[in-house]
Amino acid sequence: MTRRFLTLFFHELRLQLVSPATYVIATIFLAIMGSIHWMALWGAASDTQDWLPSENLFRLHWVPALFFIPMLTMGSFAEERRMGTLAALLTTPVGPHAVTLSKFAAAYLLYMGLWALALVFPFLTHFTLVGAAADPRVLGASSLIGGLAFVASSAPLYIGVGLLCSALTRSMLVAGITSFVIILALLSANKGLFWLADTHETLRWLYAPAELLNVGKYAEDFARGVVDTRPLLHFGSGAILTLGVTALVVESKA
């Protein structure tokens, strides 16, 4: 099982790395993250800020989650189903769970690799700007580690959603748009629930689930070094659910 998974995983990773689309996505990702960091630095230099520039990078985690995860995952199953290579793969002793897990692991590693590359910006700032090296706020190690831990724990859910959407269709475009919409709903669900609870007396009970779905709050907590089990449960259970359903869809629609 492990050998089969590793063979599939390295194959997936290789396919991602030989695809020109991956480099286009990486370039846009780094351009956007670089811009976010530059704007945070600009803001910090001109005014007093509540956030460290490095924390700001992770506060806007929703930007890559919303745009880049659909881009990275939309072709995973949709393109293979369109080409017929998924069916050919499933005639070998490889099961749908191994295929799903290998695609998930490859997309996760790539996404985390992009984030690791984005961390170059705070380091560059720290070591190249005159006087910045002395200012610990530019390179807040604890906020960087906390932020990266948040991205690492939240990404499985969004990647799971992307893979599920990709497994449901043969069109990459449809998969991309669907996963964008679902991730947007997951990221903003708490706002909708808060609004409902605020506006309807009978729906006050929605505050509790809204708090549980408050992804922004989790990101802030992680960046400040506060980690509890709620976000881990939220993202972990969501990821397991979406990946499990994806494997079932792959098996039934090959």
């Binding site: 050998r3 089969r4 063979t7 599939l8 194959h11 396919l15 030989v18 695809s19 080409m83 017929g84 290579t85 069916a87 050919a88 793969l89 499933l90 005639t91 070998t92 002793p93 490889v94 099961g95 090959a254």
Partner: protein
């Protein structure tokens, strides 16, 4: 007593068929794609799977390869149930799907090496097996390092077949392996498939009847989701074209020949195929009933007809195409009768 015990012992020692379909049925909504399909393919046997478009060939093959679950019935590979133990059953299978999908961005050797690994070829044998199938499929010298996306249709088909043979499976299923190939490429693939005889069970679907006729030991004909005929060519010929048919070129007319042959056999039908030539020579078709001994002495009887001036007597044997047409037409007639059309 000894006879009674010998049969079960022989059955127990006989290996299970490499490919076995038992009462497979599959519907897509109201459309019944496959209905009560049963057949088996022994190890070392090459069997052709024939049928018109939409007959249920690909659906049956997909059920056998574990891609599509059957509504009822059982598919087995080397005695292992495909739906119950898919991982184990697929270890016995080499499958080339219709249209032969391949990843365009990989090189031939990279693709085959990867496929060998996921098919659990022992790591020490991966290189040896990849070289062996590339050699067998004539890929080693010409296409080894080419990107699959740049290969011609013929070479892509070869890559698909090489992939199916990679893990030396007991059962190989090839769905339209020669579709879109030129005659030279078809000859190459045909020789390759022939070379598998005695080594593995091969089930091939094809529309090219001549190809099936030349390559396969046995034929299964499916139409409207049902098996309408199966067996070797001789048994199918006996089933769909009972009796014997001769072409006779002579000066005697059909009535004279029928009269003469009627003295020896009841039920002989003689028809004139072509009008007489200026020299008065006619081409006649003589149909003898099944099991008629007259066939062996026909020449002798015809020579005895006065002024027959016999030129030629040859037996007409139904081709696979004739058998295929007869089998599919008969099944269509049965279905029409059932639904009262």
């Amino acid at each position: 007593m000894s006879d009674n015990t010998a049969a079960p012992q022989a059955a127990a020692s006989e290996p299970s068929p490499a490919i076995e379909a038992v009462s497979l049925s599959k519907s897509f909504g109201a459309f019944k794609a496959v209905s009560e399909v049963s057949f088996s393919v022994k190890r070392g046997e090459i069997v052709g799977f024939l049928g018109p478009n939409g007959a249920g060939k690909s659906t049956t093959m997909r059920i056998l390869s574990g891609l599509t679950p059957a509504d009822c019935g059982t598919a087995r590979l080397c005695g292992v149930s495909v739906p119950a133990r898919p991982d184990l059953a697929k270890r016995h299978l080499g499958y080339m799907p219709e249209n032969n999908p391949l990843p365009e961005e990989l090189r031939v050797i990279e693709y085959l090496t990867w496929r060998a690994r996921i098919k659990e070829v022992p790591p020490a044998r991966v290189r040896e097996r990849v070289e062996a199938v590339m050699e067998a499929c004539d890929l080693a010298r010409t296409a080894r390092r080419k990107l699959i996306g740049t290969l011609s249709k013929g070479f892509r088909q070869r890559v698909g077949i090489a992939d199916a043979l990679l893990a030396e499976p007991d059962a190989v299923i090839l769905d339209e392996p020669t579709i879109g190939l030129d005659p030279h490429q078809i000859l190459g693939i045909r020789d390759l498939i022939r070379s598998l005889r005695g080594k593995m069970a091969v089930l091939i679907s094809s529309h090219i009847l001549a190809e099936i006729e030349q390559v396969c030991d046995r034929v299964i004909i499916i139409n409207g989701g049902r098996i309408v005929g199966q067996g070797d060519k001789e048994s199918l010929r006996r089933e769909f074209f009972p009796g014997r048919v001769f072409s006779v070129v002579c000066a005697a007319d059909a009535a004279a020949v029928a009269r003469r042959l009627g003295e020896f056999e009841i039920g002989v039908i003689v028809t004139e195929v072509a009008p007489p030539s200026p020299q008065g020579v006619r081409t006649l078709r003589v149909q003898l009933p099944e099991g008629a001994p007259l066939g062996d002495t026909l020449l002798e009887k015809l020579i005895a007809i006065p002024d027959a001036r016999l030129r030629e007597v040859s037996e007409e044997r139904a081709s696979l195409e004739d058998i295929f047409v007869a089998a599919t037409r008969r099944s269509r007639d049965i279905v029409s009768a059932e639904i009262g059309v």
